[in-house]
Amino acid sequence: MSGPQFERNAAWPRMGCELHAQEFGPFGREALSRYAAISGDDNPLHLNPESARAAGLADTPVHGMLMLACFESFIKSWRHDLFVARLSAKFLRPVLAGESIRISGRVLRSRSAPHRELILRLFARTPNDDPAILGEAEVLPAGPGSGG
């Protein structure tokens, strides 16, 4: 991963800088059941194919929050010296059980003064390259109390 390297170079990313895409998943039924048990999000939509079909889906969709958690991993594997101060996402289309997502991103805005701040545009795409999640993150240098 590139985090430590970035830290050594201490270069603050510029606007347009690409974050190397990474694949997360596949999210099998076991992963969905496990996430449901641990998070408490046991919406039958994610666990029961009949419920998913009753809601008009071909199969159970992966929890949006399970995939959104991958965004944090994605950012921290890029640079672990950052604190994610804001993360927002729109879930554009379901990712079905057994599928993976590919997360990519780029620096939409970079500011060095009066303090360092990045705005990242993030995408998660399905195996068919359809956009599944559109995200945006505001990240700051990790500091005392930020937990980064």
Binding site: I38, G40, A55, S73, S88, G147
Partner: protein, 146 residues
């Protein structure tokens, strides 16, 4: 996750009769280290151990008080589908600490969306984060339910 005693959900003042809102003034919640570690493992955030994953507070919406509030607005014969989510942190959560969670939930008249706005603060009142969840309500098809 864990919760202490909290206030019962209270109805917010209606905006005319066009919007229905419910509120939980305060639930005690805790970032129990073992629960956080399990969550981090399940979500693949474990390699960055030693902190609370930023999406972890979403788990607190599964607490009985929050769940009742959500399902009251979603209604029966329907399922909530997650449409959008945001987290805004002012300070990171720390493992094995107690916090206070408040939630307001709204559903407009004839709207198929429920919006939840939650705030987490330390027990001495320091604001840590806000998060917003928008759920689209999908009615279950009667013939498919059968």
């Amino acid at each position: 996750m864990s919760a202490g005693s909290g206030n019962a959900a209270a109805a917010l003042k209606p905006g005319g009769n066009r919007e229905r809102g419910l509120r939980i003034a305060s639930i005690g919640v805790r970032t129990k280290a073992a629960d956080v570690a399990q969550f981090a493992e399940a979500t693949g955030t474990a390699p960055f151990a030693g902190f609370v994953p930023l999406t972890y507070p979403f788990c607190w919406l599964a607490l009985p008080e929050a769940r009742r509030l959500i399902m009251d607005l979603v209604g029966s014969d329907a399922l909530p589908v997650h449409e959008s989510q945001s987290f805004t942190y002012l300070r990171a959560l720390q493992p094995d600490c107690d916090y206070s969670l408040s939630i307001e939930a709204f559903r407009g008249a004839n709207s198929d969306r429920v919006t939840l706005q939650a705030a987490v603060s330390t027990l001495d009142g320091k604001e840590c984060l806000n998060f917003e969840t928008v759920l689209r309500i999908v009615p279950l098809c009667a013939e498919r339910r059968a």
